[in-house]
Symmetry: C2
Subunit: 377 residues, 2 copies
């Protein structure tokens, strides 16, 4: 999508590959929203570090990064010995996998690259196939998000006020995003609408990443405290909710997503406001039998007890330095601790529909269509 | 309640009066939770400034501060001319009233002081009556909170996990607090329980004030992001919700309180968790006919777009200075704005009961008992 740097607006992808330098190019997401910067990883170890250190985050984005990282490592191999090459590729695979051990996307993406490589008979052929497969993975990620956008744009009418939670935008994918896909497609169709971004404490991805994306894309929006959506719904100020999902259970229609998603679904149900979840088919888990079995990561309490920001704010006591360096402030009582569950699970009866690249389905419908949906992926 | 300063635990009230210095003593709430300090206002103008500048906040606390401020100003009058004295007192009244123009508590408290003064025939008699009436207002505020505590403590059983939102604790009143009253009373009865404090963005009164109070009182507690309560309720980790209220409509049973209260009530209803509101009778509005008519203050967007805290946190990049100076950091995308409604309204069907000093009532019952409840105040 677009980003404006030094007054110039250009189209960027979150993850791309530079063949001339054998480098993976990434939007450095830890600097956003205060600074937009593309970093180049020079070898697969740096690529793994970028995944581990959250330079890049989000399902599709880390999948593509791992796929490119595997190709990058393969391309760096010098020699013709296929045995040695395979051991080399195995080591790269393990390094990249270990960078985010609980994520499924890097593994799925790299398995695709390895499968494609098998058709090559020489090191050189396999190297070319690796890069082609990584490029294909990235292009498919974009195509899926664009298809989600086309499907979901039908739900957006002129003048609507839309609520979203966390960031399931282009920064979480190679481009376009899932929850934001319908918004970008509707904008391209000339529709006017307004987006409320939940700030999404404790990590504030709504206030930082989603708000930044929408601002770059010139979509009318405002950030709200996570506490405010209920009040806005009461006053008739929200017409539609669209969120993303980390994992959707194909068997039950339950949706795991960023903490606070469930609360918004409960509120939307009470107010008769449509609640949609936008997902690529790859995030459907066809195996797990109940949402209660989804492990909910308990994250570090420091996230809840304070906040990261820059000292350049309008009311800083420290001065008005233009530095975008982010600083942690302790907000909470120093003697108190916190609980910090990272995700929650929304049951199907609260979900109006699942927006996929191949159509919008009721979440209870997924299982009945599992053959069709698995093939479509 | 208790506060530990330099390792020594003492009992404090939020607002007291020092006769020897003709000074109002206040807990400087803007420094909490990072520093506990009692400040003395030397004249009624300084007292008005303390109300205006949020040194003191909360219904009962600003009521008592205004009552003491009026007595303080009256006591500073030199001479015997009753006419001059009355004009002097009128001017003080207007100054204190103007310090927080939308609040009803200072006005009600000062009206009580002025009514009591009328029984005095000389300036000196009226001065003494003013101080006595202010002392009585403060003592009644404490007595009301203690009575709320006794009523509400019945709801708390051993091992319970209780959710509260914002700060309706002793810092918001002269002592004890409303939502916290039942917790302190249950603790005194030897009951063990755990409290989850919603951090209560955007001003974080839960993470700062309520958590500080509970820590001082040695009550087991954890801060959670406002997003987390729904998940905890789903997993059966919350047994009871107790919140305060800025204004309860006697006619309809609707409750206006800090933004996010309504959301917690909706979640509690869905999970069959009792949701109680603890209030002194003085906050019941017997006139207003519908909650929609309660003006909802839209506060400055900078509250949502950033956070106030200290740089002494565990992960500060700036160093580990022990200074408690609070700093504002801008969290959100610099080019984005925010909506910031300060309060919301919870309808009676979501409220299990209203805890008052004279009993626990269904919110729909209030109007039928209006004569009894007005007299009891």
């Amino acid at each position: 999508m677009n980003a404006t740097v030094h007054g110039r607006t250009r189209h960027y992808r979150t993850v791309t590959f530079d063949c001339t330098r054998n480098a993976v190019l990434l939007v450095e997401q830890r600097l956003l929203p205060h600074e937009f910067k593309i970093v180049a990883t020079r070898n697969f170890r740096e690529t793994a570090a970028a995944i581990r250190d959250m330079v890049v985050r989000g399902a599709g984005a880390i999948g593509a990064t791992a796929a490119y990282g595997l190709a990058q490592g393969a391309l760096a191999f010098r020699g013709r010995d296929l045995q040695k090459f395979r051991r080399h590729v195995d080591a790269i695979y393990q390094t990249l996998k270990a960078a985010r051990p609980t994520a499924v996307d890097p593994v799925n993406a790299m398995n695709g690259v390895r499968a494609a490589m098998r058709a090559g008979r020489t090191v050189e052929e396999q190297q070319k196939l690796a890069l082609a497969a990584a490029e294909e993975f990235a292009s498919e990620d974009v195509a899926h998000c664009e298809a989600i956008g086309r499907q979901g744009a039908r739900l957006i009418r002129n003048g609507m006020k839309i609520l979203t939670h966390c960031n399931a935008g282009w920064l979480a994918f190679v481009d376009v995003g899932t929850a934001t896909g319908p918004m970008y497609a509707a904008q391209a169709q000339g529709k006017k609408f307004h987006v409320f971004c939940d700030e999404t404490r404790p990590r504030s991805q709504g206030a930082t990443l989603t708000a930044w994306e929408l601002a770059q894309q010139k979509i009318s929006h405002q950030i709200i405290a996570d506490n405010a959506a209920g009040h806005l719904m009461q006053r008739g100020e929200i017409d539609l909710v669209i969120v993303g999902s980390d994992r959707t259970l194909g068997r039950t229609g339950e949706v795991a997503n960023k903490i606070g998603t469930y609360t918004k679904a409960v509120l939307a149900k009470r107010h008769g406001i449509p609640f949609y979840v936008a997902i690529p088919l790859s995030t459907i888990d066809w195996k797990l039998k109940r949402g209660l079995d989804i492990p909910i990561e308990e994250r570090d309490e420091s996230e809840v007890l304070g906040a990261w920001g820059t000292l350049t704010g309008p009311k800083s006591e420290v001065g008005s330095s233009k530095s975008a360096r982010r600083t942690y402030v302790r907000v909470a009582n120093p003697a108190s601790g916190a609980r910090n569950p990272g995700f929650d699970v929304t049951p199907p009866e609260l979900i109006t529909g699942i927006i996929t690249p191949v159509g919008i389905f009721r979440s209870k419908e997924l299982w009945g269509r599992r053959h069709e949906l698995s093939l479509a992926d």
